[in-house]
Symmetry: C2
Subunit: 337 residues, 2 copies
């Protein structure tokens, strides 16, 4: 089946292309009778407007780009649900783009957006991202960007985040209360806003007890699970090994549990563990995992609402805002009862 | 910063719009010197071609649509990685669309695609999808569709799947070997190709032992985790409760473990459990979960390769093919040692 064009409709009805176009847009210039004829034929031939042509005319793609590092993390899958819950009813499409934690990918995706592929962007930066020129370039073209979860301090834009500093503090304080005195911190990037703030909270709680972590107790993990497993194992094999672990990213729970099992270290007896995670199955791990659980759905939903307001040019825009939605410490067996 | 148009470049250089356009496309009609001037100014003003305008001219969007029910399932997140591993190096963009398991969403996404938003589609149907007219309509417009994982029997298109019947058979046979005689099957849709085939394998293995499941042992779950929990709990509270459970979808592991814990049923002593799942943390559940693990990355990669061949019009297309990549039974403690 050939794609039915406006031109084909015009020929079939012996009308001009412009008349057909106006009839399809329900213009007052066209009689009701003609509109009826055009719409009937369009329906019969299954005419579909070309979205790119519509975009050229209307200067709007009706797409919202969601740029995230990955989908294999329950935070992002829940956040996407939150985003879609508000965006779809406004007639926008959600296009999901993955950077796979690489700055170069993030740059090329945002550069591509400059051409008008999306009307606005919801962005959670990659762990490699330390500068924001690619974001500023996009915003300079009147394409609004709203950060969610992972932000860049030096880009002035709306930011919807959770209380990462407080969460890091609360988690560490909980481990201290449970008797830990040497608490390790696992991070996937010290550059990343969320990791850095969680770590600041961790350091603050330690210093409240007159403690300072040794260099060896702050472990830099990566995207590679075998590498992470080896890093954690090495840390736990040291003579002076930690009695508590705060893992700043969901995927770090697995290497910690695996390494403890391999080394016959019991959780929580030998090592107490807390992980930032939204996984439902945290409760059925062995032992059930104490988590900092983030308001992922709410963060996505709020970020999308803020972006939609920015796109709605008829409304006066408030100045740039940062919204903080708090996370919760959910205590389970891995941190001791 | 205003979006820089071809018209602006033309005015600045005192050339016609058509000359600028040809120069940007490296046309032989334009002198090298003029091309140089145009490219220099375009670079200086950060000129970006409008992708929709390019699409209108070139009839190609360079987008591949990936339509899946959800991302909160490790199968799909791994499959997306497989898809991206081959698609990106060919200069295509991957756009991810979620149906949230709803047929109406799937229809509207595919209908939208008819306008040329994507060049080709990788599709895993929703659990509500039983007819394929919306897919046929899209293919009739010369937009190739490749199914992966979840397919529709009555649509003739390339299909990349795993051996669902064999996997269902192998898993059930394993439970029978471990002494189970009343094995329940948990499904989220009997319509869905994968669920139906896994169930056929299950029934075949049972009948090999002269067994037939009671109606109560085939449980229809949903997208709602509380509902699923209640369904499973009800099943396990029956006087004649199952001694084995085969869960056909990853997210069903959690309600099974939760319900067993609530009812003080030990896994595997009272109930042996196998789940179709690609979760890495299956190994650290309590007890570690026996899984049918699917070749998710490979399925995504193969589906994308087949689609790219279909898009490469220069190559002769083989007839429609079905590729079957086998899954593996990974035995852990939940099914008994």
């Amino acid at each position: 089946m050939k794609h039915v064009t406006i031109r084909a409709l015009a020929q079939a009805l012996n009308l001009s292309v412009s008349t057909i176009s106006k009839a399809l847009r329900d213009s007052y210039e066209i009689s009701e009778e003609t509109k009826q004829r055009v719409l009937e034929l369009a329906a019969r031939l299954n005419y579909m407007p070309n979205p790119y042509a519509s975009s050229l005319r209307g200067k709007q793609s009706r797409n919202i780009g969601v740029v995230i590092p990955e989908v294999a993390d329950s935070f992002f899958s829940l956040a996407i649900n939150g985003i879609e819950s508000v965006v779809k009813e406004k007639g926008y499409h959600v296009l999901i783009y993955l950077t796979h934690e690489q700055f170069a990918n993030e740059q090329s995706i945002l550069r591509e957006f400059q051409g008008g592929r999306v009307d606005g962007v919801l962005l959670s930066v990659s762990r490699e991202t330390v500068s924001g020129q690619h974001i500023l370039d996009l915003m300079a073209r009147d394409i609004p960007v709203v950060f969610f979860d992972r932000t860049l301090a030096d880009v002035e834009a709306d930011k919807i985040v959770t209380d990462d500093f407080d969460s890091g503090y609360t988690a560490t304080q909980h481990l201290l209360d449970k008797g830990c005195r040497q608490i390790a911190y696992l991070t996937i990037s010290e550059n990343l806003s969320i990791s850095a703030q969680r770590m600041e909270g961790y350091l603050k709680a330690l210093s409240g007890h007159g403690l300072r972590p040794s260099r060896n107790d702050i472990v830099q993990c990566s995207a590679d699970s075998t590498f992470n497993y080896n890093q954690v194992k090495k840390m736990l094999q040291r003579k002076k090994r930690p009695d508590g672990i705060l893992a700043s990213v969901e995927k770090l729970a697995n290497p910690v549990y695996q390494a403890c099992r391999e080394l016959s270290l019991a959780i929580p007896e030998h090592v107490k563990v807390i992980c930032f995670s939204n996984l439902e199955i945290a409760t059925i791990l062995h032992p059930p995992l104490t988590t900092i659980t983030q308001p992922a759905f709410e963060i996505g939903k709020t970020a999308a609402s803020v972006l939609l307001k920015a796109l709605d040019k008829k409304r006066a825009r408030p100045s740039v805002q940062e919204v903080i939605i708090p996370s919760s410490l959910i205590i389970r067996e891995s941190s001791g009862r």
